[in-house]
C-alpha cells in the first residue's frame, strides 16, 4: 500500500528547496539575491545535515553560477540554480549559452522588479526578458504549484531527446515568502518520476567539442533545430503534466489552465501569483451576472498559442494582465496573446499593473472587467 503523503506548511522558497532536495541534484551553484536567499539557505542546510548529497558551489556571481551548473550539466550531473532580477540579468550571457548549447538543466527565478530605481519587490520583467534564450519558461500560481513545477521542470528538461533547459518562475515575496499548505510526494515517488540523469557529454574515450565555431551554413541549422525542439516541447510538457497529474492525483496542467472559460463572455489572461486574485475576481463578477473567466498561462515559452486561440476565439473580449511591459510597444503578455490571436475578431485589452510590487486586489480587476462590459475601458490601462 502506498505510504501516506506529507502535508506541510512552507513558504515558496522552502517548497522549491524541498522539491530540489527530492530531485537529488549533484551540483548546485547559487549566488544570494533577495528574494531567493532563503531558498539558498535551506539548500545549504539540507546539505550540511546530510539530507542532500550535493556539491554546493558558493559562487562569486550569478554569471558564474550559471556557468558552473552549465559545466556540471555538460559533465553529466543533475544541477540547479536560482536567482532573481539583477541576478538573472547578470547571468544572461550564460542563460543564452546554455539554451544555445541545448543543455538540460533547471533554474528557478523568484521574479522581481529591475533597477533603477531599486526595488526588491515583485514584477515579471526579469522573467520575460529571457523569452528568446531557448529555454522552456513556466510560471507558478501558488506554493503548491511552485513545488509541482520544480519537479516537472527536471522531468521535462531531461525528457529523452528534448534537450532544453527549464526556468521555473514564481513571484518574489508573494510566493517566495508566503507560507501555504502543500502536499509533497514521498521521496520514492520522486525517484520513480525522475530516474537518474542520462545526459552527459564528457567521454574521454570518444571526446567531443561543445560550442565550437559554426559557420553560417551550420549555425542556422542549430537554431532551426532549436525552433523544432521548442515546438516539440509543448507535447512533452502536456505528456509530463499527464504523468505528474496521475502520480499526485490532482490535475496539474502544463501549458495553460482555464477557470470557468466554457461559457464565459470575457476572458482574463494572467500569469503567476495574481492568477489567484483573478479567480476571486471571476467569482465576484459571476455573482454580479458578468460571465468572466481566467485563462492562466503556465508555460510562457514555448508560448501555447494554439491553446490560447482555442480558448479565446469565441470570447466577446479579452483582458490581459501584465506585470511586464515592452516600452514602446505594450504589455509583454498582451503582445504575445495578440500575436497568438492574429486574424481573430476578438478585441484584446491590456491592464498593466503590479510593477515593483504594487498591490493589485481582486476589486481592481472586477472594476476593469465591469468597464470592459460597459464599453468604457481603454485599450491599455496602467494602474498608477
Amino acid at each position: 500500500m502506498q505510504k501516506a503523503r506529507k502535508v506541510l506548511a512552507l513558504v515558496g522558497n522552502h517548497a522549491v528547496a524541498y522539491a530540489v532536495k527530492q530531485a537529488k541534484p549533484q551540483v548546485l551553484a547559487v549566488f544570494p539575491i533577495t528574494p531567493q536567499t532563503t531558498m539558498l539557505e535551506k539548500l545549504a542546510e539540507y546539505i550540511a545535515e546530510g539530507e542532500l548529497k550535493a556539491e554546493l558551489v558558493k559562487i562569486e556571481s550569478e554569471h558564474s553560477a550559471m556557468a558552473t551548473i552549465f559545466g556540471a550539466a555538460v559533465a553529466g550531473a543533475r544541477v540547479f540554480t536560482a536567482t532573481s532580477s539583477q541576478g538573472l540579468l547578470y547571468m544572461t550571457e550564460m542563460i543564452y549559452w546554455v539554451g544555445g548549447a541545448r543543455v538540460p538543466l533547471v533554474a528557478a527565478v523568484a521574479t522581481r522588479a529591475i533597477a533603477a530605481p531599486w526595488s526588491i519587490l515583485d514584477d515579471h520583467h526579469d522573467f520575460v526578458s529571457k523569452r528568446d534564450a531557448i529555454w522552456i519558461q513556466m510560471m507558478a500560481e501558488d506554493v503548491q504549484d511552485a513545488y509541482d513545477l520544480t519537479l516537472m521542470a527536471f522531468r521535462i528538461s531531461e525528457y529523452p531527446n528534448l534537450l532544453l533547459p527549464v526556468m521555473m518562475g514564481f513571484d518574489g515575496f508573494i510566493l517566495t515568502h508566503t507560507m501555504e499548505r502543500l502536499e509533497v510526494l514521498n521521496d520514492e515517488e520522486v525517484d520513480e518520476f525522475l530516474p537518474p540523469r542520462k545526459f552527459n557529454l564528457i567521454d574521454f574515450e570518444d571526446p567531443v567539442s561543445i560550442g565550437q565555431v559554426a559557420d553560417s551554413s551550420e549555425y542556422i541549422k542549430y537554431r532551426y533545430y532549436a525552433m523544432k525542439a521548442m515546438e516539440n516541447a509543448k507535447s512533452v510538457i502536456e505528456e509530463v503534466s499527464k504523468e505528474y497529474s496521475k502520480l499526485v492525483g490532482r490535475n496539474v496542467p502544463g501549458l495553460v489552465e482555464d477557470f470557468m472559460c466554457d461559457d464565459a463572455d470575457y476572458a482574463i489572461v494572467a500569469m503567476g501569483a495574481w492568477s489567484g486574485d483573478v479567480r476571486e475576481a471571476v467569482r465576484r463578477l459571476r455573482g454580479e451576472g458578468i460571465k468572466a473567466c481566467l485563462l492562466k498561462v503556465k508555460t510562457f515559452r514555448p508560448f501555447p498559442k494554439e491553446l490560447i486561440r482555442k480558448y479565446l476565439s469565441e470570447k466577446k473580449a479579452v483582458l490581459v494582465m501584465d506585470r511586464a511591459y515592452s516600452y514602446g510597444l505594450g504589455g509583454v503578455l498582451a503582445s504575445e496573446v495578440k500575436s497568438a490571436m492574429y486574424g481573430l475578431q476578438v478585441p484584446v485589452y491590456n491592464f498593466v499593473a503590479g510593477l515593483g510590487g504594487q498591490d493589485v486586489r481582486p476589486s481592481v480587476i472586477v472594476d476593469m472587467v465591469k468597464k470592459l462590459h460597459e464599453g468604457t475601458l481603454q485599450e491599455e490601462v496602467w494602474l498608477v
Binding site: A29, V57, I59, G211
Partner: protein, 296 residues
C-alpha cells in the same frame, strides 16, 4: 570520431588554424602530452577558440568545452565537481585562457575559483593583448607597447597577475615561457600532481601582434626570460623558487639588457631611449622585490 584520432597519448593535432609562428599549438601539445587523455579543456573566447576548429573538426584529442569569455573558471569548477560527484577518478580539468579572459573580463571568475580552491589547473597563455580581435590592449599589455588601441604606446604597467594569484594562497603558481619548454613541461607535471587550484602563467609571443618575424617566436620567448623581463618561478604552498635560467638572474650582470628583447619587436619601435631606460629600471626594481620573495 575517426580512428586516426584515437591516440594513446593525447596530443594536439597538426593542420590547425593557428597563424605562422604562433606558439599556441606547441603549448597545447605539451599540455596535453603531460595531462593525458583524461583531460577536459575549457577554453574562453580567444585565439584558441579559432585554432580549435569549427563544427567540421578539431585538432584536440580531448573533450573541449568552449566558454563565454568571463566564464571559464566557473565552467571548469562545475565540470570538476560533476565528474567527482559522478565517481570519476584520475581526470584533469584545465582552463586554457588568454590574458584578456584571465586578467580583465574573467578576473572575478578566476579569483573566485582560486579563493574556493577548486581542483582545476588554470593556464593563462599571455600574448599581452586581445589578439584574436586584432591587437587591442589588455591589462597585461606591457608598458610602452603599441596596440591598435594604444597607438602612442601603452602608458600603464602590466598587471602583475602571477603575484596577484600568489596572494590567493593557492597550492601552486608558476610562470613559464614557450622559449623554455622543458621548464614549462616540468611545471605542468608538477601541477598535475597537486590537488586544488593551480595557476600557470605562460608567456606566449604573437608574431602579428608583437610585430616580429614569425621565425623568431622562440628567440623572443627566450629573450623575455634572459633579460629578466619575464622571470621564471614557481610558488609551491607559499614557497617561492626561481627556476631554469632565472635562478641566475638575481645577479644583474647575468641578465641581458632589456633592449635586446624590445628591439626585436615592432610594437616597441617608437620607444624613446628614456623609455627603454625606464623599462630597464622597472625590471631591476622588480628583481629587488624578487630577492625579498626568495629570502622568505
Amino acid at each position: 570520431m575517426t580512428e586516426a584520432l584515437r591516440l594513446d597519448n593525447a596530443r594536439f593535432l597538426r593542420g590547425n588554424a593557428a597563424c605562422p609562428g604562433c606558439p599556441i599549438p606547441k603549448e597545447l601539445d605539451t599540455l596535453l602530452s603531460v595531462m593525458g587523455k583524461r583531460t577536459v579543456l575549457v577554453v574562453p573566447a580567444s585565439c584558441t577558440s579559432v585554432i580549435l576548429g569549427d563544427t567540421r573538426g578539431t585538432p584536440s584529442t580531448v573533450p573541449v568545452i568552449h566558454s563565454a569569455m568571463a566564464a571559464s573558471a566557473a565552467i571548469a569548477s562545475g565540470v570538476e565537481r560533476a565528474l567527482r560527484a559522478r565517481g570519476e577518478k584520475d581526470f584533469n580539468v584545465v582552463v586554457w585562457a588568454g590574458d584578456g579572459a584571465t586578467g580583465d573580463i574573467g578576473f572575478a571568475t578566476l579569483s573566485g575559483a582560486a579563493e574556493r580552491n577548486e581542483n582545476i589547473l588554470y593556464v593563462c597563455y599571455d600574448n599581452e593583448a586581445f589578439m584574436n580581435t586584432g591587437i587591442q590592449r589588455s591589462s597585461l599589455t606591457p608598458y610602452g607597447a603599441w596596440t591598435t588601441t594604444t597607438p602612442e604606446g601603452k602608458r600603464e604597467f602590466k598587471k602583475p597577475l602571477p603575484l596577484v594569484m600568489m596572494q590567493h594562497r593557492i597550492p601552486y603558481v608558476a610562470t613559464a615561457s614557450i622559449g623554455y619548454i622543458f621548464d614549462y613541461e616540468q611545471k605542468l607535471r608538477k601541477a598535475k600532481g597537486i590537488k586544488g587550484f593551480r595557476y600557470i602563467h605562460l608567456l606566449s609571443p604573437c608574431p602579428p601582434g608583437w610585430r616580429y618575424d614569425s621565425s623568431l617566436t622562440v628567440e623572443v620567448a627566450k629573450l623575455a626570460v634572459d633579460t629578466g623581463i619575464w622571470p621564471l618561478f614557481e610558488v609551491e604552498n607559499g614557497e617561492f623558487r626561481l627556476t631554469s635560467v632565472s635562478k641566475t638572474h638575481l645577479d644583474k650582470s647575468r641578465r641581458k639588457p632589456v633592449e635586446a628583447y624590445l628591439k626585436l619587436q615592432g610594437r616597441f619601435k617608437n620607444l624613446t631611449q628614456e623609455q627603454v631606460q625606464e623599462i630597464q629600471r622597472m625590471v631591476d626594481e622588480m628583481w629587488e622585490e624578487i630577492k625579498a620573495l626568495v629570502k622568505k
